[in-house]
Symmetry: C2
DNA sequence: AAGTGGTCTAGACCACCGC
DNA sequence: CGGTGGTCTAGACCACTTG
């Protein structure tokens, strides 16, 4: 009997976690709302409170829920705080995080390039929206960004005036379109500034810039955004903790 | 009574963890050796097995110990695997990790510069050892590194012939000097190649390179190494997962 | 077979929150 | 005050490793 389970054994708490993640993905508990209490979930699934707790604690570490003693467990939201801490890695020479100020210059619909289609796992020439913007740090332009997102997930976004796009996009994706970014990976390289990039960022052409290419995924691990950021790193650096 | 504890309340498992970390720092269980079993530790500290387990699980996530079902709990070691996965973030354009091949060109004792003293938290002009090396990826020079370490922690290292220094330094630090790197942080920037760097890496002078400045700490959070790596990123990139 | 860590349960009490 | 998650305990059983 233990042999029968041996091969495809899966801990109960992981099964519970899978069920809860699925319900989150179905938007059963929209961002910011409370999940049932541990006791209620334990009764519903007919497991012990400890098993539910373990599942929820894992989900908290993955930023899928927030838990607060005395209050409850809540579906994660995309606060500005979180964007700044989880996703924004540029800090100034003193190691301080600065809030970037963004100014979008264009927001248009287009057919996906081969690279966009690959990064977003879309068919060739599928419809995407491209956003271009400049972000200032401490009052000076420091980041030039090109962002691509699938049109299908963001209906009507292409007709927004670019100057109305908010500073923290992930919060905007979530509240306006129900698209929740929960995970991302970045490819960082050094690149020489092109003529236009140099002009926008106020550096000499061919100056070294930091190129950060990011792919962002939702809770179902589907890509929802692809962006390339070109950053001045003369007064800031990209910070990474290895632990 | 609950007020009396309220202010400086600290969970039991954290106190146990602190005690265990201290014993690890005192080298009571050298890297690779087994700690006592959960049951033995629980009896020793007169707490439940579950409390010890929680402390050990936290320590495992911090890479201080390794735990294996059926075998036991072991003080962490610096395998080449770990160096590659936890500390080495350059991967090739296909996303594959390659084992770098290192060739040290110099290894000398010197007085710390102001920057070195600050990074290593040493007094001005304290004795440091500087190692310079080139690392090849896929057969071509791709990384130029300058490494600074406090002489006090590595007696006699300065008299090693540089060509005898091994590829994975952290494993070497641990086995030869009992210096265990457990945590590090990196500052990443774009920089223009100097004439000498360009020559070593086989690129044009002023080419954009990725500058990775790393500060590595031991279990007591004391800095034990400072290094700056200049990397070609035309066939590789610095990969970072955000979760 | 014996010993390890991993899971699961049940129950007690504590710290925290909001009413 | 009642309800939440956080801690701590004790005990049972399971999966894995070693001999």
């Amino acid at each position: 009997m233990s042999e029968a389970r041996g091969l495809n054994y899966r801990p109960l708490y992981e099964q519970i976690k899978t069920l809860l993640v699925r319900r989150l993905g179905n938007n059963e508990w929209p961002p910011g709302t409370a999940l049932p209490s541990e006791i209620a979930l334990a009764q519903e699934y007919d497991v012990s409170q400890g098993t539910v707790r373990k599942a929820l604690n894992v989900m908290e570490k993955e930023h899928l829920v927030e838990r607060r003693q005395g209050r409850g467990t809540f579906a994660a939201r995309h606060s500005q705080q979180r964007s700044l801490f989880q996703f924004f890695h540029l800090v100034n020479d003193n190691g301080e995080r600065e809030l970037p100020v963004s100014r979008a210059t264009s927001c248009r619909q287009s057919k996906a390039s081969a690279a966009e289609a690959r990064a977003l796992e879309l068919p060739e020439r599928a419809s995407v929206i491209r956003i271009e913007r400049v972000r200032e740090l401490n009052g000076t332009p420091a980041i030039h960004e090109r962002i691509s997102i699938p049109s299908s997930l963001f209906p009507g976004l292409a007709s927004w005036p670019p100057e109305n796009l908010p500073n923290t996009l992930y919060e905007f994706y979530e509240t306006e379109y129900g698209v929740m970014v929960v995970h991302a990976s970045e490819k960082v390289r050094a690149a020489a500034a092109s003529a236009t990039e140099a002009k926008v960022l106020g550096v000499a052409p061919a100056s070294p810039l930091l190129s950060v290419e990011r792919r962002a995924l939702n809770i179902r691990n589907e890509p929802v955004e692809w962006r390339r950021s070109l950053c001045r790193t003369d007064q800031h650096y990209y910070f990474n903790e290895l632990d």
